[in-house]
Amino acid sequence: MRAPDTLLVTGATGLVGSGVVTRLLRAHPALHVAALARDPARLAAVAAREGWGARVLPVPGDVALPGLGLASLDRTRLARTASAVLHCAADTVFSRPLAEARRTNTDGTRHLLEVVDAWRRPVRVAHVSTAFVAGRATGDIAEGASDGAHGWVNGYERSKWEAEALVRAHAPGAVVLRSSTIVADTDGTVRQHNAVHRALRAYHAGLAAMLPGTPGGALDTVPGDWTCDAIARLALAPDAAGLTFHLCAGAGALPLDELLDRTWARWARDESWRRRGVARPAIADLGTWTLFERSVHETGNARLTRVLSALSHFVPQLALPKRFETANVERLLGAGAPPVRDYWDAMLADLLASSWGARAAGGERAA
């Protein structure tokens, strides 16, 4: 596919969106980007940081608003010039209540598709989704539509599933890019802290008694830089049309036992930490984890309750073992995501060196 003249991008200020825009501009010298911006000042800061220059045009708007909140002039201009859409905007907070998550994720996607529909011409739609639209499903997860029969762990997963369903219904030729959880770059640099890092911090603090999981269960994560590379290559690829891609570790996911052992070994290089005798968390079935969680809440212990609350919207996934198939990714990119163990130790080192992100304002660091 010839690079579009103008690519409408939502979520261009986010970790993934900004990384993908940078790569697309580099790969396609004639490309211009119309970046939907709820916060123009933030977009300007990201643009300056990334060195985008004049090829990225801010377009005031908000996915949460009907018509993307576009001004009439912008609506008209996009209808005339945009030939592709990259939808990265999302609320990725796992603990967000469903109704709130839907405002950005489901409704935001609907608003975008309505705008695109109004252009009445073929438009490449590249939709950044999450591998965890699979929700509570277990086993092999195919690179294709998910029926949602198993339900979901949190509002984020469900709202993203709903968004994906809208994309499939309204843009059947769309490229659906399902990212696993981004924890670091391939060199271990952590650019944005999330529930995985919070769980690791609880472990380091000696406050993680157990995690839900199953024998043979594994944690699937991906590096941010690899993910941005993959999206940039696939979003506009001619032979990607209508396909779903799992940007996931897949076979390279890290078994939970190994994750806990590796992590313990890394922490234990610090003698003062080792001498505290912090135990490797136990792996509990979901029922036992739920009972423990409930018991802690009932005791009213504020600190432990806070720790468990931070984990509760994500860790149940660990007890729902799944393996994401990655054949489409491997076929079109030539290789899948790096195995988690390739960057896990470096990520742990980065977390310690940065004091769990304390030295980066807002916990987000420049790409």
Binding site: A279, V296, N301
Partner: protein, 330 residues
Amino acid sequence: MPATPQDARVTSVGISAIQYLFAGQPVPLAELAARGALESDAGLLADFGFERVHVADREAPYDLALAAARRLLDEHCVDPASVDAILVGASPSAMSFAPAREAREAAAALLTTRRFQYAASRLQFDLGCDGAALLGLDQLACTTLFGAVRVARALVAAEGMRRVLCVASEFFPARAGREALWNLTSDAACALLVERDAPVNRVRALRTVSKGYYWDGDARREEVVASYFPTALHVVDRTLADAGWSRADVDWVVPHNVSSRSWAVLMGLLRLPRARLWDANIAARGHSLAGDNFINLRDATERGDVRPGERVLLFSYGYGAHWTAMAVEA
């Protein structure tokens, strides 16, 4: 962690007799709440499996220790002169001899020469175990009797002893209420007879992990709670491995009487059926420093629940902090 010698050269010992005594009358949860003796809501503790506990008042820890030890010797027709050693875990010296209601005064007496009045010495005399070596154990909290069995085992192996009487009697601190980490506490004493080549309750393995980082249990409360379960799993698995047992081989888990809720979590982590946990005493007796596991083992055996030859796992945790497990062949 130093390994506990588990090879074939270790002499076989068993716990041939157990006797115990609880203080006073049982006090129900509601009354404890009315007395202001609880940190948590009584409803929570009820949900966690507690109903009542024994609270000492006029009794002294030594009174219960002596009574339990005497009953044991009488019940099993043990000649006091045949006891080679007495291991005692008790309230500090003079406090051991004072009624619970006078604990404050007794604590002050520790600043006098009454500091040198020892329960072990007095037991030796009062029981007539005139040839028994004496040792005191401290700083093991609720795992004291496990520590005593460990030492007894070593004395049998190293010094050729035949019979070691282990006694624990320490009341919950008088000004600490009745609750420890969401567990209701009782006052009691327990006595064991550890014997070479005992035909019952043969000790197949015994392991303890002590983590001194948790020496200040109050300041590190959340970390203690978080470490409790995974460390318990670790100690249990190592003990079972030492005994040559798998988890599935365990017929009974005889607990220390922390909450039923806590045990439900631990049994879940062990992936053992709840039915294998002998928890009949948690509601009625609560948790004592004296040695729940051994009290429960006696009761479980008397009721016919634990049968000869069955494989029994005992596990306890004590402030300090100590996690300990013992594999016993009934």
